[in-house]
């Protein structure tokens, strides 16, 4: 328990630090949201209209520390303010409307990549020099080293446009209304397949190699030899003895990756026109939409910290050494 409380303290500190960074970083970028909006739209506005827009967006000219205090106060009340690039929609509404798709896409592809990648890694390490070990690593590294954008465009063009097997854009067929019906769920899955596949394909190699490497060092441990000497079944040794111990680094990276899911998959969203927060984050940064940026970064920070905290708790369960120290 003491361990968890100590960790919690660290997290609170980390959270405060990231809150402060969230606040400071956007404000050192040149320009202000209104001038960016004007230059982006290439439109002509009278100076008094620009002033009016500033007032409308609630841009304040107060000293930075005052802004900082009210920022902390608002965050504490769960008030992220009103988005500027989506004015007058509240930030929470902008994020809520899109994060579901982001989590669906990111979560599905992460889980699939982790499960398949780790299994391949386990098998490859267990049968070193075998079929899995000699075929998959080179192929996956080859595919994984393609620029993602190129790979996604290629997949979209081949499977979506040329072969017509998969829809080429959006999260579900345009015209449908989201509902919990088999037809709609199926439609969503069909639309999800290609974007998720491209993410899985580029990320799976890392998981596989990571697992393979730790597995190889684990299988050299004395307790594996001991287990073999006791005459345990190979399958039991592989999963219950070797894998369990080799899993720890994978769990750590899973925690990190879980947190980053909510940042969105920008390139996937761009290529497949898949709704999500990734493109929103990009346009928020480009438009200097402070409230939306803060809201999104905060969501990401919170998700990373929560995921890490969960991993820490799981670690206590998985690794007895942590409990002792």
């Amino acid at each position: 328990m003491g361990f968890i409380l100590r960790r919690l303290g660290t997290y609170v500190l980390a959270f405060w630090a990231s809150l402060t960074l969230n606040f400071m970083l956007p404000r050192v970028m040149p320009g202000d949201p209104v001038s960016r909006m004007v230059s982006r739209a290439q439109s002509r506005l009278e100076p008094d209209q620009i002033e009016q827009l500033r007032r409308l967006f609630g841009l304040d000219d107060r000293p930075v520390w005052e802004q900082y205090l009210s920022y902390l106060d608002n965050i504490a009340h769960g008030d992220f303010g009103v988005s500027i690039s989506r004015f007058p929609t509240p930030v929470s509404e902008v994020i809520a409307g899109q994060i579901g798709w982001t989590i669906l896409l990111g979560g599905t592809s992460l889980i699939v990549a982790v499960v398949i990648g780790n299994l391949l890694g386990i098998v490859a390490a267990w049968r070193r020099g075998g079929l899995v070990d000699s075929i998959f690593p080179p192929i996956l590294i080859f595919v994984g080293s393609f620029p993602y954008f190129w790979l996604a465009m290629g997949a979209l063009y081949l499977f979506g446009v040329t072969l017509g097997w998969f829809p080429i854009n959006h999260a579900f067929s345009v015209g449908l209304v989201p509902e919990w019906s088999p037809a709609f769920v199926q439609d969503v899955l069909v639309h999800l397949f290609l974007p998720a596949l491209t993410i899985v394909v580029v990320s799976i190699g890392g998981w596989m190699l990571g697992m393979r490497n730790t597995m190889i060092s684990t299988t050299a441990e004395d307790y594996i030899l001991m287990a073999e000497a006791k005459g345990l079944r190979p399958g039991r040794i592989m999963f219950r003895y070797a894998t369990r111990n080799a899993l720890l680094p994978s769990v750590t990276s899973l925690g990190l990756s879980l947190g980053f899911i909510v940042g969105g998959a920008l390139l996937t969203e761009v290529v497949f026109a898949y709704p999500g927060v990734g493109y929103q984050l990009l346009s928020a940064v480009q438009g200097l939409d402070y409230p939306l940026m803060q809201g999104l970064f905060l969501t990401i920070t919170a998700a990373v910290l929560v995921a890490n905290f969960l991993v820490d708790i799981v670690y206590v369960r998985l690794d007895p050494r942590v409990r002792v120290s």
Binding site: M29, P30, G31, S35, R36, S39, R40, A41, Q42, R44, L45, E46, P47, D48, Q49, Q52, L53, L56, S85, R86, F87, P88, T89, E93, G97, W101, V112, V115, I116, L119, M153, V161, T162, L163, G164, W165, F166, P167, I168, N169, H170, A171, F172, S173, V174, G175, P178, A183, Q186, D187, F193, E269, V270, V271, A273, P275, G276, G278, Y279, Q286
Partner: protein, 555 residues
């Protein structure tokens, strides 16, 4: 794709070993958009710069959902830059007094809001009050009064002839709805009440939304299409793919090599039209720093650049070179041929450019490079936003062209916000920039030459980044604003063109094209070069003209 109808793939895709996720792809998904000709098909339009939509139909919001000011709310008149004509819309006629201090608009008396209430003059009065309160502007309007049910009178603090279009193109909102709203600026107006042809939000998702017919539209005979469907895309690539694939009817975004990528897929039905009616794109030189404060240097640099190449290579051949009036294709009726013929600094002449720079005191050194008076090399930057790949290649062509006359130009391409922050504060050397675009050339010349728009370096400005002002221009602009007599206006604009040609405040490159492509497999009646009743823009006031002219194909 080999066949026009989309291939359906029925069967099972199983492939994920552990999750054993089996996806049955049934025929009911997707693809129907391309072939539906039941008569109820929705006009499908991509929006390439919004990854997702938010349900905000507030016309006073700078980020309202697409079509808010096109299909939902309407203005009193519509100015069409493609043919220079003005179409009466919610107003049937308008009149400006002799002294230019009052304008009277007569409203159509058969117009109803989409909730069935009639449009009255008080709605117009209320709209202008709200507009000034929320967004400002119209500082020259003293009062707006409803003389009777159908007549609105505007009085001005000074004669200002461009007011007609600025007032006329303001979209009108219903007083009976908006007066009930506590905070109009912060209202997202999810279910708008407008006078437009397609006001009913039938579905709204983050990736797409549909607008259905206004049940009380004032020209029901023109509501031939069943509705409008907007699709969200996070970038041009996705939107272009949808256009190429045939799942959208209208493609108002930039498509590279459109002849091959888009039209060639179905030449019988697909076409594009890029009228040069956008704003003039210029190469601006910061005239507060030497040597750009010297008009001969500006003209010499202009003489050295190859606009034909800029247009053909940098802009894909989608537009035409600018002339020395600086006017875009939207102002063809104003253009003075006398001025165009009298000046030559926009046609390439490398020798003349070199001679002018020699004369101006920037001699060619032995190494083939020019130097300033103090012996330092004649070198400067062009700043362009890195996202504009077309303008970036324009800047590179300029750099190559100027190398030929011994001037070194470095293309500096950070992201747009950083570039425009430099423009706004005057902290730049040169850059490629858009210009003001309005129904008359007044705003263009005001933004390039008037002293009123010149701000000292360090002070933020949103126009006249190059910071050049001419008292003669002020005088002409004031006279233009004060008269509404067409003959007199033409004469004044001739003077402004001459002034521009003499002073080269910026170096005009080409008029920005208005992107627009379409396929007529599902809808016919598109505006074309032969029938320019509107442009193919989906964000302009003229969009409503297209929406009320298209007819569905019924088979």
């Amino acid at each position: 794709m080999t066949s026009p109808t989309r291939r359906r793939w029925t069967g099972i895709v199983a492939g994920l070993a552990v999750a054993s996720l089996a996806l049955a792809l049934a025929g009911c998904t997707g693809g129907t958009a391309a072939t539906d000709t039941s008569g109820d098909q929705l006009l499908t339009i991509p929006r390439e710069d919004m990854g997702t939509f938010t349900r905000n139909f507030n016309p006073f919001s700078p980020n309202a959902a697409p079509m808010t000011g096109q299909a939902v709310y309407e203005s009193m008149l519509v100015y069409n830059p493609a043919d220079g004509g003005t179409v009466p819309w919610l107003a049937t006629e308008w009149e400006t007094s002799e002294d230019g201090l009052t304008s009277t608009f007569t409203l159509r008396d058969d117009v109803q809001w989409s909730d069935g209430e009639p449009l009255v003059a008080d709605d117009v009065v209320y709209t202008f009050g709200l507009q000034k309160e929320i967004l400002g502007g119209f500082e020259y309007v003293d009062s707006v009064t409803a003389t009777d049910e159908d007549t609105v009178t505007f009085t001005f603090s000074r004669a200002y002839s461009p007011a007609l279009f600025e007032i006329g193109q303001q979209v009108i909102v219903p007083e009976h709805v908006w007066s009930e709203i506590d905070d109009p600026a912060g209202e997202t107006n999810p279910d708008p009440v407008g006078t437009g042809p397609y006001t009913e939000v039938t579905t709204f998702q983050t990736q797409s939304f549909d607008l259905g017919k206004n049940p009380h539209y004032w020209q029901p005979e023109k509501q031939k299409i069943a509705g409008v469907r907007m699709l969200a895309f996070a970038g041009n690539d996705g939107a272009n793919l949808a256009a190429v694939d045939g799942s959208v009817d209208w493609a108002p975004q930039y498509i590279a090599d459109i002849e091959n990528t888009f039209v060639a897929k179905d030449p019988e039905h697909r076409a594009y039209w890029f009228p040069p009616t956008g704003s003039t794109i210029s190469w601006q030189l910061n005239t507060t720093v030497a040597p750009f404060d010297d008009v001969d240097v500006r003209k010499a640099l202009s003489l050295a650049i190859d606009r034909e190449q800029i247009v053909a290579v940098g802009m894909n051949g989608y537009t035409v070179p600018a002339d020395c009036t600086g006017l875009s294709g939207a102002y063809d009726t104003w253009r003075s041929e006398t001025v165009v013929e009298s000046c030559d600094w926009t046609s390439r002449d490398v020798d003349a450019a070199g001679a002018m720079l020699d004369a101006a005191g920037y001699p060619l050194g032995e190494d083939g490079m020019r130097t300033f008076a103090d012996g330092s090399p004649f070198a400067f930057d062009i700043s362009v936003g890195s996202a504009s790949s077309d303008w970036l290649s324009v800047a590179n062509i300029i750099a190559q062209n100027l190398a030929e006359i011994g001037v070194t130009v470095t293309v500096d391409a950070p992201d747009w916000p950083a570039v425009s922050a430099g423009y706004e504060s005057g902290d730049f050397q040169s850059g490629i920039v858009w210009s003001n675009n309005a129904p008359t050339p007044y705003q263009f010349y005001r933004g390039t030459m008037s002293t009123e728009t010149v701000k000292p370096v360090g002070e933020t400005t949103y126009e006249n980044y190059h910071r050049l002002g001419l008292p003669e221009a002020d005088e002409l602009l004031a006279r233009f604003a004060a008269t509404s007599d067409p003959a007199q206006q033409t004469e004044i604009v001739d003077g402004l063109q001459q002034l521009f040609a003499d002073n080269a405040p910026v170096i005009p490159l080409f008029p920005g094209p208005e992107w627009g492509a379409y396929t007529d497999t599902r809808f016919t009646g598109w505006p074309t070069e032969a029938d320019p009743y509107a442009t193919l823009s989906t964000r302009a006031p003229t969009t409503v003209l297209v929406l009320t002219s298209l007819e569905p194909v019924v088979s």
